[in-house]
């Protein structure tokens, strides 16, 4: 299962900060956003906003990076510091 993490206001839209997603094969982040957006328009468009960054297993990546089962994919909206 891939672990999806939603930070900041994205957690409100996703209805929680974590979600598990079984992936039988690798998908790009863009594809996963499409899948999530098919069920939930608002979440899909929030995740695709240009200011949202993506991290796989703690490293910042682009939207065309591949997510595999067992990966941790984090959606990082603009940070708001200490």
């Amino acid at each position: 299962m891939a672990q999806l993490l939603f930070f900041g206001r994205l957690g409100d839209l996703a209805g929680g900060t974590e979600r598990a997603l079984g992936l039988s094969e690798p998908h790009t982040i863009a594809d996963l956003i499409g899948i999530l957006g098919a069920c939930d328009d608002l979440l899909g468009s929030a995740l695709a906003e240009p200011r949202v960054r993506y991290a796989i297993n703690g490293a910042i990546v682009d939207a065309d990076a591949l997510v595999e089962d067992e990966d941790e994919l984090a959606f990082l909206p603009p940070v708001s510091g200490g």
Binding site: G8, T17, G58, A74, P77, P78, V79, S80, G81, G82
Partner: protein, 153 residues
């Protein structure tokens, strides 16, 4: 350079931490500290709760990278970063940064640099809960501009 970076969901005592930091110094003549406090007045009137979220592991690594950059740039004897996460109320300490160096300019600039990083680039997400409910906060343009001061010089 000695460094101490902590993210905690427990209240901390800035002056107790500073006393320990000062006691650890052997050469420094200059100690600068920044303490950030929850302000009582938020955008939409009074704030009752300020909540900070982080990404465990990745947030710490980002701060550690910034401390390394500071140590490359200024001759520091030691640096301390303590950042609170979770729910806080007005006047609670949110963040403590302390830097120590032989001379004051290095200590001032390194503390300023680390605070700019923490305010605009570290992985923290902040929400304020007041009379109007919870609201997520994004950095002020000022915070981005402050951080950009260090980019090319």
């Amino acid at each position: 350079m000695r460094q101490d970076i902590r993210i905690t969901d427990q209240a901390f005592d800035p002056e107790l931490e500073l006393a320990g930091f000062r006691a650890s110094l052997s050469e420094a003549g200059a100690l600068v500290s920044f303490t950030g406090l929850v302000r009582p007045a938020g955008k939409d009137g009074d704030v009752s709760i300020l909540s900070l979220q982080h990404y465990p592991g990745m947030t710490e690594r980002g701060i550690a990278d910034a401390v390394v950059k500071a140590a490359e740039r200024w001759p520091l004897e030691a640096a301390l970063v303590i950042h609170r996460v979770g729910d806080m109320t007005p006047h609670d300490p949110i963040v403590l940064v302390a830097t120590a160096s032989a001379h004051r300019r290095a200590a001032f600039e390194a503390a300023d640099f680390l605070m700019d990083f923490l305010k605009s680039r570290a992985l923290f997400w902040k929400s304020e809960t007041g009379a109007e409910g919870r609201q997520w906060i994004e950095p002020r343009d000022e915070d981005y501009a402050d951080a950009a001061r260090w980019d090319d010089s």
